[in-house]
């Protein structure tokens, strides 16, 4: 059977599964409702009798002020944190082969386990652990938030999603697309950009609308490059740490619609590759890792989000239009350590600047069904051999929510590249690729707020 037909059949099966389950569970009967009603009415009557007796005793204290029934003790007497888990399962039915990092057709892309609680009157703690087959267990985020600061300030210390761009501040499994946009994946990372350090934000409204400034200083811009090691740590100098700032501006256009227009930037030094000189071994480290050099990289950008959700029909109709543009600026000729420069090693990392953007729209068709589309553009890395190249992609999404706690999504994407390294080399030499992905996510545990 043709792979796309198989994919379509599978999608139809998973989309039908939830309503079928629901139809099979329609066991609530009128007698149950009546029994519940009678039982609860008893407790209500008792409370009313007590109140009536109190009224007779003292007219001024006629009504109870606190718990009367049903709330007779603390909700969480053992002070346990909220524990929740999100499963993110991806199926790749791309006709010419899997486009997943691990080459799987079906994979548990990630399980995210979250522990969240108030630490004390001054701090809240949030821990998100990621579990997947490639990285095993990793600390995705772990931060302490100071909640008692004056002046509308909030501070975090730990590891967090960097406040750079719009979509990067959303967990990947909460996106309305299966993957981050190409510009986010390329400039910030496949799983978004996290940083470990200090985050401070302040909200203000001197002009009558919501504004928020978020600044962060983190150990480094991006993750430690596992297979590329610099002779000097990239964070050796304070000026080489990762520094970011984001200014959010939000306006209500009407009761049903609003826009957000924001700008952000991050700068820091990142490890970049070298080409070896006369002695090829000279740029291989003692532990076999390739030696690189720290070079400054800066990413800045702007994002725009328009939302529409009529309040009375809000369960059934909504629309989002989002666009984000980013520009990456690279240091052209970073200093190469003398011991490598003497061997003739030369800089082979990114140079110059390049841009990328995406535009995403999503319309709600029914209470549970959403249709989305995205257009992506990405300039090629500014290396000589790829100068002038680009990647363009168009994708469509069908999102189905059986409930607030589960999501099924199908994605079709057409990718067209020119003059740059292939995004999916395993699919063969063609510059064009059609991808079909299916995603199922589910959430266990306490009800989490809906991302805005």
């Amino acid at each position: 059977m043709h792979p796309s037909i198989t994919a379509a059949a599978l999608l139809a099966l998973v989309a039908m599964a939830a309503p079928a389950q629901q139809m099979g569970d329609t066991t609530r009967t009128d007698s149950t409702a009546r029994a519940d009603s009678a039982a609860r009415a008893d407790s209500i009557r008792i409370v009313r009798e007590i109140e009536a007796m109190s009224a007779g005793a003292s007219a001024d204290t006629a009504r109870p002020t606190t718990v009367s029934a049903g709330r007779s003790g603390p909700v969480n007497p053992r002070l346990l944190p909220d524990i929740s888990a999100v499963g993110d399962i991806v199926g790749d039915f791309t006709p010419r082969g899997s486009t997943q990092e691990d080459g799987t057709r079906f994979g548990v892309r990630e399980i995210e386990v979250a522990l969240q609680a108030e630490v004390d009157p001054y701090f809240r703690g949030d821990i998100f652990l990621g579990v997947n087959d490639l990285e095993k267990v990793s600390i995705e985020q772990a931060y302490l938030t100071a909640t008692a600061l004056p002046g509308a300030l909030e501070a975090r210390v730990g590891r967090f999603l960097m406040p750079v761009g719009k979509q990067n501040t959303t967990h990947r499994h909460d996106l309305h697309s299966v993957e981050y946009p190409w510009v986010v994946k390329s400039f910030l990372g496949e799983e978004g950009l996290t940083g470990t350090g200090l985050w401070v934000s302040r909200i203000f409204a001197p002009f009558g609308f919501y504004q928020e400034l978020q600044v962060a200083v983190v150990d480094r811009f991006g993750e430690d490059e596992g297979d590329l090691r610099t002779t000097e740590p990239v964070n050796e100098e304070l000026s080489a740490l990762g520094y970011s700032a984001r200014l959010r501006n939000y306006w209500d256009l009407s009761e049903a619609s609003n826009i957000e227009l924001s700008g952000s930037a991050i700068t820091g030094k990142r490890a970049q590759p070298l080409v070896c000189g006369v002695d090829a071994l000279s740029c291989i480290g003692d532990d076999g890792e390739a030696l690189g050099v720290a070079a400054r990289q800066t990413v800045f950008g702007a994002d725009f989000t328009y939302r529409w959700r009529p309040l009375q029909q809000g369960l059934y109709r909504s629309f989002i239009l989002q666009a984000e543009w980013m520009r990456q600026v690279n240091e052209n000729d970073p200093r190469i350590p003398d011991e490598l420069a003497l061997t003739g090693a030369a800089y082979a990392g990114q140079r110059g600047s390049r841009s990328g953007f995406y535009t995403f729209a999503r319309y709600q068709l029914t209470r549970r069904l959403y249709l989305g589309a995205r257009v992506d553009h990405l300039d090629s890395p500014s290396r000589e051999e790829e100068a002038g190249g680009s990647l363009n992609a168009q994708s469509a999404y069908l999102e189905f929510f059986p409930s607030e706690f589960s999501k099924l999504m199908a994605m079709f994407e057409h990718v067209d590249q020119s003059g740059m390294e292939l995004a999916f080399p395993d699919l063969g030499p063609s510059r064009r690729a059609n991808r079909i992905l299916l995603q199922a996510t589910f959430a266990l545990g306490p009800h989490k707020p809906h991302p805005f």
Binding site: I44, R71, T147, E154
Partner: protein, 304 residues
């Protein structure tokens, strides 16, 4: 250049948050219009009240817009229904507002459900196979006027604690509100007599407290489980139930799509009664007593 950037950031961090209006009123923000109206009735001119959700909106699904954060940021009191009704949006607003007064444990954090005798507190194991259950109990308690009085008393107590000089006025306002409610209840007593015992179907469990007060007998729900949209097999069973019990009214909120209710009504000869569940849910329903009067009167007319 870096120094200039740092100076600009510092300037933004030290900007005044917003123009501050000098007044001694308590700033009260409520999650729903019902709490807002009762708070106004009790607080009178000593408070400045505002609300987040609208009466014609499903209170479970309010968007946590940043403009709401600004409202809560300056609040002295944040009053909410509780029992996880606002769980999908309230944490974002409370955390975003950075206002210690309205965080859990703060002087202005007011979970109104603590004053209410509750219905539908689940017994035994609770999980999401039961739908979008509220493990702490049914949160739609404001639709019982007795609970309206309890809410008013809770507001009086909290406002008096935060603004002791206004205690006498809060007490007088609370009494006046309760008296108006009692007077209105005497007016609609005949309607209650008509409603009592009549079988009806409700869309969601939001009408359980209303049923306790009015005596209407909910024989089934349009939703097979709380928060789960109607399925064909459930509706088929519900139609049989309505025929067997003689239920001739389907009560639903204005924010649900009435197509399914109309379908059931066509097959049972019933009437679909769209009732506002909250103040402002329909034009002219501008305060709490008007809401109760409107809903009771409409229901009595439909079942008679």
């Amino acid at each position: 250049m870096p120094i200039r950037i740092a100076a600009a950031l510092l300037a933004l961090f030290t900007l005044p948050i917003a123009p501050v209006a000098a007044n001694a009123q308590l700033k009260v923000v409520t999650s729903t219009t019902d709490l807002y109206d009762i708070a106004r009735a009790v607080g009178g001119s000593r408070i400045r009240a505002s609300h987040i959700g609208e009466g014609y909106q499903d209170p479970h699904f309010v968007e946590a817009k940043p403009s709401f954060v600004l409202k809560i940021r300056d609040a002295d009191v944040w009053a909410f229904v509780g029992l996880d009704l606002e769980i999908g949006w309230m944490p974002l607003l409370i955390n975003g507002a950075r206002n210690e007064r309205v965080r859990p444990g703060g002087s202005g954090y007011l979970d109104v459900s603590t004053a209410i005798p509750l219905l539908d507190v689940p017994q035994g194991k609770v999980d999401r196979s039961q739908g979008d259950v509220h493990p702490l109990g049914n949160p739609h308690y404001w639709l019982d006027p007795e609970n309206g009085k309890r809410i008013a008393h809770l507001f009086r107590t909290r406002f008096s604690e935060l603004d002791p000089s206004g205690a006498a006025q809060y007490a007088a306002n609370e009494k006046a509100f309760a008296d108006r409610l009692d007077a209105a209840a005497r007016e609609w007593a005949d309607d209650l007599a008509v409603i009592r015992g009549k079988p009806v179907v409700a869309w969601h469990t939001s009408w359980r407290y209303f049923a306790e007060y009015t005596g209407m007998n909910i024989v089934g729900f349009m939703e097979p489980k709380p928060g789960v949209p109607p399925s064909p097999s459930h509706l088929a069973g519900l139609i049989q139930t309505m025929k067997r019990t003689g239920a001739k009214v389907i009560i639903m909120e204005p924010f649900y799509d009435r197509k399914m209710a109309d379908f059931v009504a066509r097959n049972t000869g019933a009437t679909v009664l769209v009732l506002p569940p909250s103040v402002g849910g329909e034009k002219g329903v501008d305060d709490y007593i008007a809401l109760m009067r409107h809903d009771i009167s409409r229901l009595a007319g439909a079942v008679s």
